[in-house]
Symmetry: C2
Subunit: 105 residues, 2 copies
């Protein structure tokens, strides 16, 4: 099943993983040590993050270092862009003013 980035960041553990690997690449074991859960549980989160390409594996012998893929994270930024205009213009007072005008019509 193809994962999407919105679902990927919905989980707090996965967000924590992203924060960690954004600082430096880590192996699954290294990540698991940070969280109070089994390595396999973390491995599943890694799988989700990898499938939607938010992290990239780098094989080194029997270890796998997962790197943060900043480019993919930008997709959020693009999605957010459609709302950016709203929060630049949607001041509370202005919003109320417009509502008042609309009601007077």
């Amino acid at each position: 099943m193809k994962q999407d980035i919105f679902q990927a960041i919905a989980d707090p553990t996965r967000r924590a993983i992203l924060t960690l690997v954004a600082i430096q690449a880590l192996t699954p074991n290294a990540m698991a040590e940070k969280f109070d859960m089994t390595r396999q549980a973390v491995s599943k989160h890694i799988k989700v993050l990898h499938e939607c390409e938010l992290i990239k594996p780098e094989h080194r012998g029997r270890e796998i270092y997962y790197h943060f893929n900043a480019k993919k994270m930008q997709e959020f930024d693009h999605w957010l862009a459609q709302f950016r205009q709203s929060w630049e213009t949607q001041f509370n007072q202005l919003d109320q003013l417009l509502s008042t005008i609309k009601e007077q019509k």
Copy 2:
């Protein structure tokens, strides 16, 4: 149960609702007409979006117009900020160059 915004945008229907109300405030019925599901199902999504304050209700007689809350959406922007530096510096070529240098050590 308190909802969080990450989980709120994880659902595609809720993202669609946000896109709609960002353009103009809508009633639950108006939203339901846009999607292939029952009004109650949409109503549940509205509840989630409302609980985490991504939308705000405006009562008008028996109708409820839900407005987009741009301010709340900014919380994503703040979360994304921690990664912004990464995608400004993590050019693919530069990344590869650094890896090469590291391996030569």
